[in-house]
Point group: C2
Chain length 123, copies 2
DNA sequence: CGACAATACATGCACATGCAAAGGATGCAA
DNA sequence: TTGCATCCTTTGCATGTGCATGTATTGTCG
């Protein structure tokens, strides 16, 4: 049976509300580590990748950002020394973004914060 | 029992993904009516209010926008003639945003689109 | 009554994002 | 080799948002 319009609207409203609540909380919490939500997402993806490195194209799939936005996020992370870019050997058009030592440390520091916020807001 | 970190992360990821999917679909669909998601939300709220009018402050509570962003959304709607602003008589600091005839029509036109997108993406 | 805080909006500014276009390096196939 | 597609960076522009601030009005306290 199809849902009524109001039921759909309420469900959507609830989803938006939860998303907004968690996002704002995350943003605030991660600010203490000088990270944004997008930045953390990228770090998390890299951290879980083999060799702590990943092609941009692959990142583009998991992170919800346009190509240009992703390029800029990685650029910011590079400026902070958390990520380094290097050529891809098998396909030299590609670029590997790899987590640096500092990046790993920053991520490890921020992870408990991230986890706590999720636990508090997704209960 | 508390959820594991990975379970939390997956749940969050799923939420973000769904939110992004629906939002993008809505944005695309509503574009045919020259409306953004925020604009539609405001119209919907006004349409369901008594007298089709509402104080900014009250709107601010239901719509997930900062006060300044809300002020601008209403400004855009006013530019399009879909909403009109008028002084509040009992408290002259306050402002009523009220749906115009054109606003009601636009909303009625866009509502089926909105409903369809939700039905297709929240199933 | 008069000074001062609080409220309701509007606006200036910074910034993140998406889109689109241009460019450089490389891979691939005819 | 030539030509075209792919992967990525960079840039310019428009837009939407939040934060901080400004302005006008209201409320409060002495």
């Amino acid at each position: 049976m199809a849902k009524s319009e109001s039921a759909l609207a309420e469900q959507w409203q609830a989803l938006v509300e939860q998303h907004a609540r968690v996002t704002i909380a995350l943003e605030r919490a991660l600010a203490e580590h000088d990270l944004g939500v997008s930045e953390f997402e990228v770090l998390a993806e890299l951290a879980s990748a083999p060799e702590s490195a990943c092609r941009m194209q692959q990142l583009s799939g998991t992170v919800h950002l346009s190509q240009s936005a992703l390029s800029r996020v990685v650029g910011r992370l590079e400026d902070q020394g958390l990520v380094s870019r290097s050529m891809c050997e098998d396909d030299r058009r590609g670029i590997y973004a790899s987590l640096t030592e500092a990046g790993r440390e920053r991520y490890d520091l921020a992870r408990p914060t991230h986890r706590t916020v999720l636990a508090d807001n997704l209960g």
